[in-house]
Amino acid sequence: MTELATRWLGLELRSPLVVGASPLSDDLDALKACVDAGAGAVVMHSLFEEQLVEEQMAAHRFIDSRINMDAEARSFFPESELFEMGSDSYLQRLELLRHSLGVPVIASLNGISAGGWTRHARELEAAGAHAIELNLYDLASDPEETSEALEQRQLSVVRSVAEQVSIPVSVKLSPFYSALPAFVAGIEESGARGVVLFNRFYQPDMDLDELELSREVVLSTSAELPLRLHAAAMLYGQTTLEMAVSGGVHSGDDAAKAILSGASAVQVVSAVLSEGAGALSRITREMTARLSGMGYRSLAEARGVLSMANAPNARTWERLNYARLLHGWK
């Protein structure tokens, strides 16, 4: 049997399988089931500063603006309902999870302002998060901002948060960097402890009947995994940051591949959302069987053996061979 214990962000995890950031954080029972099914840690869904700000301003606009405007109605809600529409409920949930789950709880943060990132990071630390995952969800849409400037802005966020908190910080990345290794080096320099590869964006679809955009969450499939494996394999050995693969892990083989490409942890979301906590025990079982079958005694032994640094046919990871492969189909 392969020993599954692993270190991720300096935390000792009993399994590399981590419940990734998802709506599951709102469902304590489901998370408990995930832990029972073998999850090594839990990442909460992101604290979205933008959403907090929007809600505060909406309340200011639709509730506070309707105070003292009418002779008969002083207001439309009880006064005692004026309470913080900030991070409180997130922090309370974090504390609840930390006390209830028995595995590390990693908070996720998505900020929009410099002050917001650091203020909320400190709050998360104070509320007992074992680590913070920074969700750099930041689509480039401004023609005035170069990739260099954007990356510098993101690095300064990482740096300021890492400076403000003493718990470990990981950074969840978008797959769309021109020079990922260099950026990851920058992250390392900024004080983070790990990277998560990669974020999955909720991409809007189109409603052709109504001629408008529609928003639906589409769960991942194993087809999304190779992009992540490729990045992990490429980064392994080039960085001291610990890596987690996130997106497309649906089977024990998927998870094993992530480890072999160099990941210390494997985040699972879609499989749990569609199958329930049972998915985790299945993946654990399959992964253990696979790795044991391959003769690995520990995860450390398996980690990175098929990375670009270690794989026997490492050039396969490179783009050149991609073209040849396609030609081979003829």
Partner: protein, 1197 residues
């Protein structure tokens, strides 16, 4: 001593709360806020003086609250309540009981007019005076300080005397005035209140351990004596009250007496009054004493029991001329109540020989419905007292050219101390002006040694409302209980006020004037009208401008300019050093909004920081350069009455109109809202005819009838304005050959955007462009105003040509337009649709509430007439009796119909051939062609009758219109239907009469500010349900269905207009009672109402609001009467609930309770669905109808 800056309601409520265990209330303006404070404190767990959190219970009406109070008193509890006006009237029966049982009890009244010829939410003493026979002691206070103090004294004295106390103070003037007062601490109250009194009260409680019987029925042999047995308690009451007042003085240093005299010790002229007017009289008497006049004022604190001895002792012997002022009117009385008490007391004393001189007494009325009472008026009264033959009965504050009772007043008189600074602010309801002025008063009151006072005046519009704030502050205590006449600072927070009112009317010489305008400082002067420039020049004013909207916008605060303007006020008013003032403002922002979240604070602080950089002085030239005068307030083509009366009301000059200008019986013309051009939208919908699919959704949903569609004969557009685009009607075969247009009313639109939201037509190459789009008003206003004028006069096509389907119905002429309802109001579209269906044959009985305010609040009203002059006729009786009012209308109307038919019968043989059958054949209000023929026949009948000389002919002529059927609809909100009016609604339904009831269900008391009703859904936070309502919404429809003879439908127009139009028409065609429950999105739900169609759809799809129709006619067709129009649950209850702040608040505050209540609400919906499904599957076997037939016609016994 601790000073607090607060309003009268809070000051009183704070004392009453601490001294009570049980608080039973019902919302009513202007007293609601007292109950709300109590509810808030209870929700926060604040204890009373005995360490317990009082039980605060909201009842179904004031009558219910009074019953609960009575019961709690019988159980030995310490009880209070807060009410006013109609609410007090509803309590009267129990007040007699409570006093008759000598129960210690103190209640607090924010005195308000009783509705007579009209409702008024404003102040006079007609409510408390109606209660003067109850046996309650009536205790008056005249200022915020006094209201607090007298509240404590009232609670204390009732415990010691067993006489219940009604403490009253002036609604709005005192209840809503913010003032700096010395606050009463818990220790003060502990010392004041007799704990033996509490013990004794408890010892009299009902308990089976020591059983008694109370509330017996007594016969002639016992009742009278028993009633007289109460006398000693009233005889000693004055003495006991005096003792409590003396003890109070010992604790606080503030000495009150039953009658407080102010003035010359040997005064020859004295005025007597009570309430806030006495403060104004106090100030005036002091000023007159300085002028060497021998005058005085007697303030009455205790009106009942009237303490004659103490009254006589308090009044100087030297008085020769006395004026007694009453703030109430008792038509036909020898005099108003205070006058009678005073006259009686004096007469008795004089006849006994206790008083040598019998002063000449005159009596006057003042201040009805918050009419201003000023020092100039007090002087006018003293002048009148000097006259050789003064008016024995007079009024002051109105110009009475009918009965000639009024005194002439020199309105220019200004006696206010120059040390008191005065500031006036004109704001928009939504811009936060009042909130920041309240904050400013608190800053001045609590951060400095200054005394401060704030009084706030609101108009009655719910969208684009105007507020005027009156702020005074200075080193001297402020007694001025009237609006500011000469202000050293005038701020105009929105440019449109410059065009609408004489905003500088009250600017003092050398005043500082601050304008918020989107103009540069260079162009400001040239944009001002002659009137504004003239005042600025003549009064040597200094002018400052700021584009506050831009500053606020940049800080991310949209149109909320209040903090920006607040900074400017402090910077210009020069009361505090600038930095100190700004620090105070920031602190107040943090205090007020800090809990809302850091972003709210950050943006407001940013606005504060950038305000002063944008404030500029504009030099005022030494002469007027403008040539443009302020535009007329109503169009030139407006009718005479509108020109002469409505115009002045609109200009804020209504109080200058004489008595003769007004109808004496409350009868007003309809159709006046079209003359009030408010122009409150920044953006208005503009039609793109090339994209329009003529669905009329925009016209269907518009809450203000500000976008309408119409079909018309192509030739009728001859002479149309150039920009008047029309297209051919292409969607409806019945309308072939007609032209079609959608028209915006630019000055009546509120800019809510609902029309654009529901517009389904998109430009395929530019999907952002719809068939209507919001555009800046300035580029379209003039053109569209001209188009609208032409559009309105286009002849309507015959009503029977327009199909009665939901897409075509909006093409019928709406007879409800341009109301003052909130932007995005979910109620008004139902009313508009109803008027389109049956407006020209419609009588409306309207319950008090939002629908009676936007439906019938002066200066202008929205119900209007068609080209024939027909339209809805409307009346609002009370909150509780709309169904009964409607039922009475139906009965009365039917009697006239019967009489008309009886008379017609008498002419049957003589009538021209064919006319009789034409006038008696079947005709219903839903049969347009029959209605049209009937009207023609009635015209023929009239013409024929014209030659007949008999009295019967004249009578039939006057009643002939009743041969055409009429429809009676009762309209009200859920507070009426589910709570206060439920008994009447139930009875009206049970009566079987042909009466329709439309419930505009917003699921809270919207008009008074979001108190829970029995329609409030489970899980919603509302006032009096701060923890989230834990019980299910009452299923009003199911209750009505249980009768079996009532048509019932639950509808949701914003999302399901097809269903709505079907239900309304079925109800109208049903020959019997019908109940329509209409889902009405409301600002009290806490979300942007532009999303109300989508959110309402969620309500329907989640079964929070199932759609159904129950039609008893179907029983006779062998069909189940109930048709479920919502079958499946398509979205979860949570998906619906999470979109509204009223539910979201609970999630934030108590996530677990939220989850529980969501689950419970979901379960409730499931159960309801299962029950309804079974009901909808019921099949009635055909049965013998002999019993039913026999009983027909006997149903009224």
């Amino acid at each position: 001593m601790e000073f607090h800056t607060l309003d009268g309601n809070e000051a009183v409520s704070s004392v009453a709360y601490r001294l009570s265990e049980t608080i039973a209330i019902y919302p009513i303006t202007p007293a609601s806020v007292m109950g709300e404070h109590a509810d808030d404190w209870a929700a926060l767990g604040k204890p009373n003086l005995w360490g317990q959190v009082p039980s605060v219970v909201e009842m179904q009406s004031e009558a219910g609250a009074a019953g609960a109070m009575h019961g709690a008193l019988q159980a030995g509890s310490l009880v209070t309540t807060f009410t006013a006006s109609q609410g007090l009237l509803l309590m009267l029966p129990n007040l007699y009981k409570i006093a008759g049982e000598l129960s210690p009890f103190c209640m607090h009244i924010a005195a308000r007019s009783i509705a007579t010829h009209a409702l008024s939410i404003f102040c006079d003493h007609s409510d408390v005076m109606s209660a003067r026979g109850t046996g309650f002691a009536l205790l008056a206070s005249g200022s915020v300080q006094e209201a607090q103090d007298m509240a404590a004294i009232g609670h204390a004295v009732t415990l010691e005397s067993r006489v219940p106390v009604m403490h009253f103070f002036d609604g709005f003037r005192t209840s809503h005035e913010i003032s700096k007062i010395a606050a009463l601490s818990d220790e003060d109250l502990q010392t004041l209140v007799s704990h033996e009194g509490v013990e004794e009260h408890r010892s009299r409680r009902m308990t089976p351990d020591r059983p008694v019987v109370r509330g017996t029925s007594q016969n002639p042999d016992a009742f009278f004596q028993a009633r007289e047995a109460i006398n000693p308690f009233y005889q000693v009451f004055p003495e006991k009250l005096e003792a409590v007042m003396d003890r109070f003085a010992g604790i606080t240093g503030r000495q009150y007496r039953l009658f407080d005299y102010v003035g010359h010790p040997e005064a020859d002229r004295v005025v007597i009054l009570m309430g806030s007017g006495a403060e104004c009289a106090h100030e005036t008497v002091e000023w007159l004493l300085e002028q060497g006049e021998k005058v005085g004022l007697l303030k009455v604190r205790l009106f009942r029991p009237f303490a004659t001895e103490r009254f006589l002792n308090a009044l100087p012997d030297t008085v020769e001329h006395l004026a007694v002022l009453d703030r109430t009117k008792e038509p036909g009385a020898q005099g108003e109540p205070l006058l009678l008490e005073v006259s009686g007391a004096l007469m008795e004393a004089w006849s006994r020989g206790d008083r040598k001189v019998l002063p000449r007494v005159i009596g006057g009325r003042y201040g009805l419905s918050s009419r201003e009472f000023t020092p100039a008026m007090v002087c006018a009264i003293f002048d009148e007292l000097k006259a050789a033959a003064p008016k024995t009965r007079f009024t002051v504050g109105v110009r009475d050219d009918v009965s000639h009772l009024s005194l002439d007043v020199d309105n220019e008189l200004d006696i206010e101390s120059p040390k008191t600074r005065r500031a006036l602010f004109f704001g928009l309801g939504a811009d936060g002006t009042v909130s920041s002025n309240k904050a400013s008063i608190k800053i001045l009151g609590e951060g400095t040694e200054l005394f401060a006072q704030g009084h706030f005046v609101y108009d009655s519009k719910k969208s684009g409302a105007t507020t005027v704030s009156h702020l005074r502050f200075g080193p001297l205590p402020i007694r001025s209980s009237y609006q500011i006449n000469r202000a050293q600072f005038v701020a105009i927070h929105a440019p449109q006020f410059l065009e609408r009112f004489d905003v500088l009317e009250h600017a003092a010489e050398g005043a500082t004037v601050l304008l918020n305008v989107p103009w540069s400082k260079e162009e400001v002067w040239d944009r001002l009208s002659v009137e504004v420039q003239r005042v600025l020049v003549e009064r040597k004013a200094r002018l400052f401008v700021i584009d506050a909207a831009e500053v606020a916008e940049k800080a991310g605060l949209e149109r909320r300019i209040n903090t920006v303007m607040q900074v400017c006020f402090f910077a210009l008013a020069d009361i505090l050093p600038r930095e100190e003032a700004i620090a105070h403002i920031k602190e107040s922002i943090r205090k007020t909004w800090g809990r809302r979240g850091p972003e709210v604070v950050r943006r407001n602080v940013e606005a504060v920081d950038s305000a002063l950089d944008n404030l500029h002085e504009v030099p005022v030239p030494d002469k007027v350069t403008a040539t443009r005068t302020r535009p007329p307030r109503v169009p030139e083509n407006a009718p005479d009455f509108v020109q002469k009366v409505t115009r002045l009301l609109l200009e804020g000059q209504g109080d200058k109109l004489p008595v003769s200008a007004f109808p004496p019986d409350g009868t007003w013309p309809t159709g006046t809202s079209q003359y009030e051009k408010r122009t409150i939208a920044l953006e208005i919908p503009i039609w793109e005819s090339d994209l329009c699919v003529q669905c009329n959704f925009c016209a269907m949903i518009c809450p203000h009838t500000a976008i309408t569609s119409k079909v018309f004969e192509p030739e009728s557009v001859k002479g149309a304005p150039e920009a008047f685009e029309v297209v051919s009607e292409t969607q409806t075969s019945e309308l072939e050959g007609l032209d079609y247009r959608i028209q915006v009313a630019p000055d009546d639109c509120t800019g809510c955007g609902l029309c654009v939201e529901v517009c389904p037509a998109k430009d395929r190459t530019q999907p952002k462009r719809k068939a209507i789009n919001m555009q800046p008003i300035e580029s379209h206003r003039e053109v569209e105003a001209e188009n609208l004028a032409f559009f309105r006069q286009l002849p309507d096509v015959p009503r029977d040509r327009i199909p009665r389907d939901f897409k075509s119905l909006p093409l019928l002429i709406p007879l409800f337009e341009y109301s003052g309802a909130c932007a995005g109001c979910g109620e008004t579209p139902y009313i508009r649709l109803l008027t389109q269906l049956v407006g020209d044959r419609l009588l409306i009985a309207n319950a008090t509430g939002c629908s009676s305010i936007y439906g019938g609040n002066l200066p202008t009203t929205p119900y209007t007439v068609n080209a024939d002059g027909r339209g809805p006729t409307w009346n609002n009786s009370l909150f509780e009796d709309a169904a009964e009012l409607g039922l009475g209308m139906r009965l009365g109307l039917d009697k006239l119909v019967g009489r008309a038919r009886q008379l017609l019968e008498g002419f049957r043989e003589e009538l021209p051939h064919g006319l009789y059958p034409e006038l008696t054949s079947a005709c219903t209000t839903v049969d347009e062609s029959a209605m049209a023929s009937r009207r023609t026949a009635i015209e023929q009948l009239r013409n024929w009758l014209a030659d007949k000389q008999t009295p019967e002919a004249r009578e039939l002529e006057s009643l002939a219109d009743e041969l055409c059927p009429k429809s009676v609809w009762v309209i009200g909100g859920d507070g009426w239907a589910y709570d206060i009016g439920y008994g009447g609604l139930d009875h009206a339904l049970a009566s079987g009469q042909n009466l329709k009831l439309l419930v505009l269900d917003t699921e809270v008391y919207s008009n008074t500010g979001g108190q829970q009703s029995k329609a409030t859904p489970m899980g919603a936070i509302a006032k009096f349900a701060a923890a989230g309502k834990a019980t299910r919404k009452k299923d009003l429809g199911l209750l009505a269905m249980s009768y079996g003879h009532v048509y019932v439908a639950q509808i949701a127009m914003q999302s399901h207009s097809n269903h709505t139009t079907k239900a309304l028409q079925e109800a109208e065609s049903f020959d019997g009672p019908a109940l329509i429950i209409a889902h009405s999105p409301c600002i009290a739900h806490g979300y942007d109402l532009v999303h109300s169609p989508a959110q309402q759809k969620r309500a329907v799809d989640s079964w929070a609001w199932p759609l159904y129709r129950f039609d008893p006619r179907r029983i006779h067709e062998g069909l189940p009467p109930l048709q479920l129009d919502s079958l499946r649950q398509k979205v979860t209850m949570k998906a619906y609930m999470q979109e509204e702040a009223r539910f979201r608040m609970l999630e934030l505050r108590a996530p677990q309770r939220y989850e529980q209540l969501v689950a419970a609400a979901s379960e409730a919906a499931t159960e309801q669905r299962e029950l309804y499904k079974q009901l909808a599957g019921i099949h009635f076997e055909p049965h013998e109808t002999s019993d039913a037939d026999n009983e027909k016609g006997e149903r009224h016994d």
